[in-house]
Amino acid sequence: MGINWKGKRRYIALLMLIASIAVFLIAPPVVPVVQLPGEVYPEGWKLFGVLSMPDTGLPMTNTMMGSIIVWVIIGLLTIYVATRRPSSGDEVPRGGFYNLFEMAFEGLYNFIGGIAAGPYQHEIFKVFMTIFLIVLLSNWLELIPSVDSIGFLEPHYEEIVDEETGEVIGEELTDGFETIEILSGVFHLNGKCEWISPEAATELTPEEQQARADRGCVTGTGVELPPPVLFEGADDHGDEAAHDEEQGAAESEEAAPEGEESAESAEEAVAGEAEHAEEEVHIPIHAVAAGDPNVPWVVLPYVRVPSTDLNLTIALAIIAVVWTQAIGFRALGIGYLGKFFNFKTIFTSPLGGIDVAVGLLELVGEFAKLLSFSFRLLGNIFAGSILLFVTSFVFPIIFPLPFFILEFFVGIIQAVVFGLLTAIFMNLATQSHDHDEHDDAHAH
């Protein structure tokens, strides 16, 4: 805090600009693999390379990691606000951020008061604020650089599934990139070099091969690749690798080796590639060392924005809708059901049948709320994060800035809309139909 930052921040901005230009020239950005469900962490992953997580039997996904970060931020925020809170009314609150928080809090409380005044304002505000904070923070996570771009280096392949038995019978390598090692164990994808399979490389003309070689590529240059290096700690996947190896070996009519020998046999298999060009050579993809040019690589991000996972949005939507019903029952008692099953007027009024139909429509509407809540948030934020990394891919200097500002506001608006709709639905649920017209008559 001792440094006077006034006037110095511009140099930081300038430094960042130069750094972004340098990174753009050295390592062009790569379009990440887009996938709607959260990407599952590889087996045996460790937090910060040390901490191993307890095996819960559930897969850990990167959107889950994003939610954990949001929880931690909310926890820290709570602690900060609680410690800064003045103990008596006379004391002046300290800290600009605390004052900002208090201002936002008070503004939102009055905002909700304008929509849902009455005995349930306090509770409705609590629900609103909770949803608002969670959604806002998880939306803003996409603005942080390195979310969506730093992650595990993963070989990219698709499992070939036998259609009749549903078993995995092999893998097919798909699109990916070559890698460059920056530090030991730290790689970046080489955006200049898409990975090309050995079969596709034979179809390239010598000029194309030369052009690839000039860009520093390894595959598709006409040069024989070294056999794949298998990493030391391959024991975790030993069984799997051995299993795959057996099938690969069976195809190339070689003796199936057992676990530990799989590394050697893979080398043999690749060495024999020149002679048995037509025979399929099987590489145990799980056990290939990171960055090996024999397989295509993609990045599996450590953290992805949690609102781009349907699990978070649908969970919040269920909480909001169920809580709405709970408040409705508390306010109106069993009469709340009268909103949906409105048989009171069916014999007394000529329009009774319409009332019944309207009530049933409202019942359907409650379920439609689940869909609209969850898909609105998911669609907005997922499209936003795709927009951000596509613009960053197209031209990463300055050009993405307006989109970041746009996403900043989309994040706020979506959080407000989610909370506001919940508040309005809750307010509607606490008012009975019978008094609606009566109140309106008074108001005007």
Binding site: Q35, L36, P37, F375, R376, G379, N380, A383, I413, V416
Partner: protein, 79 residues
């Protein structure tokens, strides 16, 4: 290879067609905001109320466009 190319073609066409639905959302948002701005111009004192209702209406109109977007994203990345 032929069938793969056909599948990609179908996906691209389908995703594009699905996004036609976004046009309706755009028209709806335009109407809502246009009406709200007129109302605010005539009656500036009611700006907060009008704004709240406008944002709500915009969110509902946008939801339709977002459904189209989700459908096309699902076509592209899930199917």
């Amino acid at each position: 290879m032929e069938s793969e190319a056909l599948i990609t073609l179908g996906k691209a066409i389908g995703a594009g067609l699905a996004m036609i639905g976004a046009a309706g959302g755009g028209v709806g948002i335009g109407l809502a905001v246009g009406g709200a701005v007129q109302a605010m111009g005539r009656n500036p004192d009611f700006t907060p109320t009008i704004q709240t209702n406008m944002i709500l209406g915009v969110a509902f109109a946008e939801a339709v466009a977002i459904y189209a977007l989700v459908v096309s994203l699902i076509i592209l990345f899930v199917l």
